[in-house]
Every structure is written in structure tokens, then in C-alpha cells.
Symmetry: C2
């Protein structure tokens, strides 16, 4: 699948899975809702800054900025419909209240009505994507 | 969510996402179909052993056995339905043809008719789970 097609499918999805890695090399995995602007994927922590369990991803990114995000489509009956796309990149934890963070919160609120009603209280994680890739069981338009 | 409830939801799911970490600390993320026996999650590589892209997860596990698997439920309309469960553990790449590998292939074929028709040609990855955990937007039966 071309990077362009992978990017297209990623931004059309509603949920992704975020993998970060702690200082000891152990992976951490959570689902996230997200918004994309150009080559950056934004997600926000759904808990207050002091809720340490939700902050593991942030501690991980500070220790090791390499992250991956995955979007996939599964069809239990017809495996010819299966596809996935992955965004590999570098994470940054944004300072709460800074301009990019406010912009990300606005983008999330635009995509998700739930975020408009209850803005996420935690910091925003920005992932600058270096590589969009993907796989599809069926041939995809364009270069695969 | 209790480990028992997390385990129950995990084994009832049809697809999970597997996170491994390479020798440089970079995460790798792919969706997998799987079978669980006791505390071990089995998945098989859907490509021939020489297809190097599909083997990245195996090289990663050999370099760093710490892996995570995630199952999640997303509902775009009703976020009170959201939940996820995670299995953190230690990966082992099984030798093709050994008894545990044959058992895993049989378990996968039992769960997925597609695997009966076209058995996965690649090696089996076993993940010995050390921790089942999870989160639910709604209260869950038992200890949360």
C-alpha cells in the first residue's frame, strides 16, 4: 500500500492503537481517539495529570520518543476485506495550554462531539509521523 | 477491571493488536488473529519464513521478549460502551513443527475456518501472559 493510501485510511478511522516503550524496553499499548494535521497525529490523555496509570504513555514518550500507531479493519467472515495501516514516528508531550496543544484540543473537539462536551483533562501527545505504511488483503488503488 | 474479567473479554475477541520492540527500542505494531490456552496467547505469521517484513515481529521477540497485546471495543456514538483489555507478557518464537507449535496451529484452525483452509505458513509466536488488565467506561461485574 502506498504511503498516500495509508495516510488516507488512517485519517478516515475513528480509533487507533498507540504503542509506546518504557525505559526498560517494555511496550505499552492503549486505544486512542485522535486527530491528524499534516504529518502529526494528536491524542489527549483522558485523565487528570495526576492519574498515574494514564500517564504511563507520557512517561514512556519522555524516556523513549519512538512510537507507533495502528489502524486496522477486521472482518470475521471475509478475510479478503482485511487491511491495516501503521504510522511510525516520534512523540512529543505538549505543555498544557500552549498554542499547539490548544489547536489539537480544537481538532479533537471538531472530530468527536464527546470531546466538545467533556474536553480531555490531560496533556496532548503529538506524534510526528515519519512513515505511513500498510497492508491490504485485496489489491489497493495505486502503488501497493 | 479484574484480571479474570480482562482474560474473559480477551479470549472472546476475534482480533488483537501485537506490540513488539526492536533492539533499538522502536515499537512495532500489527493486528493478529489468535488462540489462547491457559495463560498463553498464540498467533502465527501469515507469510512464508523468508518474507522478511512479516518476520520483524519475530526478530523483535528474539531481541527483546517483552510484548503486549491489546483488544478493544470502540463505539463511535456511545463512549460509555468503550472498553479495552491488555495482555502483557513474554514472547517465544516456536520452532516450526514442534509439538506446541502444532497444538497452536490446531487451536487457530479450530477458531478460524480460514486457517483450516489455508494454514498459516509462518512460525508461531507464543506469548506467556504475566498480566491481564483492562479498563471499561462502565462499571464491570466484580472488582474493577
Amino acid at each position: 500500500m502506498s504511503p498516500t493510501e495509508a495516510h488516507r485510511r488512517f485519517i478516515a478511522a475513528r480509533v487507533a492503537r498507540l504503542a509506546t516503550v518504557d525505559a526498560s524496553g517494555r511496550p505499552h499499548l492503549v486505544p486512542v481517539v485522535f486527530a491528524v494535521e499534516r504529518q502529526t497525529v494528536y491524542s489527549a490523555v483522558d485523565a487528570k495529570p495526576k492519574a498515574t496509570t494514564s500517564l504511563r504513555r507520557l512517561a514512556n514518550v519522555r524516556a523513549n520518543p519512538a512510537v507507533a500507531l495502528l489502524v486496522d479493519h477486521y472482518d470475521d467472515v471475509d478475510w479478503s476485506q482485511l487491511w491495516w495501516v501503521r504510522a511510525d514516528g516520534v512523540g512529543r508531550v505538549l505543555d498544557m495550554g500552549d498554542r499547539e496543544s490548544q489547536r489539537a484540543i480544537a481538532l479533537l473537539a471538531e472530530r468527536y462531539p464527546q470531546d466538545r462536551e467533556n474536553p480531555p483533562p490531560g496533556p496532548v501527545l503529538a506524534v510526528d509521523v515519519e512513515r505511513w505504511s500498510g497492508w491490504s488483503a485485496r489489491p489497493v488503488d495505486g502503488v501497493s
